[in-house]
Amino acid sequence: MERNPEGENLEYGALEEVFEVPIGPIHPALKEPIRFTFQVRGERIVDVQIRTGFAHRGIEFMGMRQGRNLIQILYLSERICGICSVSHPIAFTQAVERAAGIEVPPRAQYIRVIISELERIHSHLLWAGVAAHELGFDTLLHLTWRVREKVLDILEELTGNRINYAIPIFGGVRRDITPEQYPRVWEAIRYYRGLLEELLDAFLRDPTVEARTRGVGILEPKEAEELCAVGPTARASGLRKDVRQDRPYLAYSDFEVKAITPADYGLTPVGDVYDKIVVRLLEVGQSLDIIEKALENMPEGEITSFPKIPALLAHLKKAEGEGLGWHEAPRGEVIHYVRLVSGEESPLIWKVKAPTYSNLLSWYPMFEDQEVADIPIIAACIDPCICCMDRVYIVRNGKEETWTKEELLRLSWEKTRRMRR
């Protein structure tokens, strides 16, 4: 996008000077700390700087400092992110399994797929609710979060916990899906099948949602490609990019996953916030398909190739080599790289690339020339895994004004009301 401060066609405040609006690092809606510094002219965003690092815990360092064994690090990898709490372990176990030459039994691969697709459903519904909240549509937030509890119940049933499932372990999974559990999973699938149309209707055919999200936060396909966007952020711009399709791993090659873009819903991909809602909701349906197929074709057999933990630890200690593991997390591609050396319990190198890291840069073109009232929804639309703002300081004519997040939301809600009229 060409920047042309002189000839810009601004709706109001065309001749005002540029002000700086810092937002963050504490913000109650987005959960994790990050700081945006916006340059605004009137209501229009001219430029943005993003400062990250508030949530940096040094997890890779903790894993590499020779105090923990790989199983302890597995639990650490799970706590990189509480929402993708099976995506990181899946990528990490794959990396270690490749490095140590461990085979995963087919049944364990299927269970990993089922849990990660259930996680995708919970994550996308969570995001849809947050997006509705940022638009001032709290009814929809409560609706989506109510229906999200069903998938958490199933995850709790299968894994023993609502969040942080601790399912993958090197060489397999820690829990089997028992025959009594199948009917409950099927029931949940039927529940969401019946609900999906209603959700699509509530989000996509609502004139207010459409008015607030169409043409807002556009990421052009070319920009998405150049900025290496991943996951739904890239797919909403029309890129057919999905790790499950491009480099199938685990049992994903059995399900013939196809990357979903708005074109599958009969729309021309624009890359705006509306398209991101379309992609995420359609992916809920895709995950249901995958879970159905996985349940139908579930192979019998062992769930782990190392039932005894001491034997697994001894094998890992002897292992030498390097491995790469990848997974399509709800937010996009996550990659773990591990290098093991013989005789050491911890890896020599552990490198993690999380999806939001790739998507951060796509914020820059999305924010360009948008309104201040659209900041909450654009910040939320890549489904960032880092939190954001608490209050906004506006220095106008040397006078400081403090804006809380509530006021920003109020701005956003007022805009909705304006558009309804």
């Binding site: 690092p25 504490i26 109650p28 959960k31 994790e32 700390p33 690092g53 508030f54 949530a55 940096h56 815990r57 040094g58 997890i59 360092f61 903790m62 400092r65 105090g67 302890q72 639990y75 650490l76 706590r79 990189i80 992110c81 509480g82 929402i83 709490s85 969570l126 609710g129 937030l141 409560h142 979060w145 109510r146 509890e149 958490l152 609502r162 969040i163 942080n164 895994c385 939190c387 608490d390 209050r391 809380t404 997040k405 509530e406 939301l409």
Partner: protein
Amino acid sequence: MGLSAFKRALWVFHVATGSCNGCDIEIVAALTPRYDVERFGIRLVGTPRHADVLLITGPVTRMMAERLKRIYEQTPDPKAVVVVGGCGSTSGVFYESYNLVGPVDRIIPVDVYVPGCPPRPEAIIDGVVKAVAKLEKLGAKV
């Protein structure tokens, strides 16, 4: 503790100090229809200046420590501090890192610890209810 113990509506402010999102989404889950704490008058507010209770998650990263102190100072008295999650209470799995200065009670005084990684929404509600008891005791003194 019965419902009569709630003499006033409790407003809660949530601070993430480098948490993994696990506790944070459970806090939001506690606000949404399944658990619905708003029926007790407990609601999340957007600024510490309106809050009675601080809900703190995360192991406190170096960059957040100063900000956590500032938020504590901005919260009007009487106030209660509830730490949600294992890493905020004891550091949990996050030990021996160069960038963590937690747990939370090394930075600010804490009244209630809610263990769990993450704790269930029921446990978070229980923690807030325990904070009510503290606030009432403080209220009786004034």
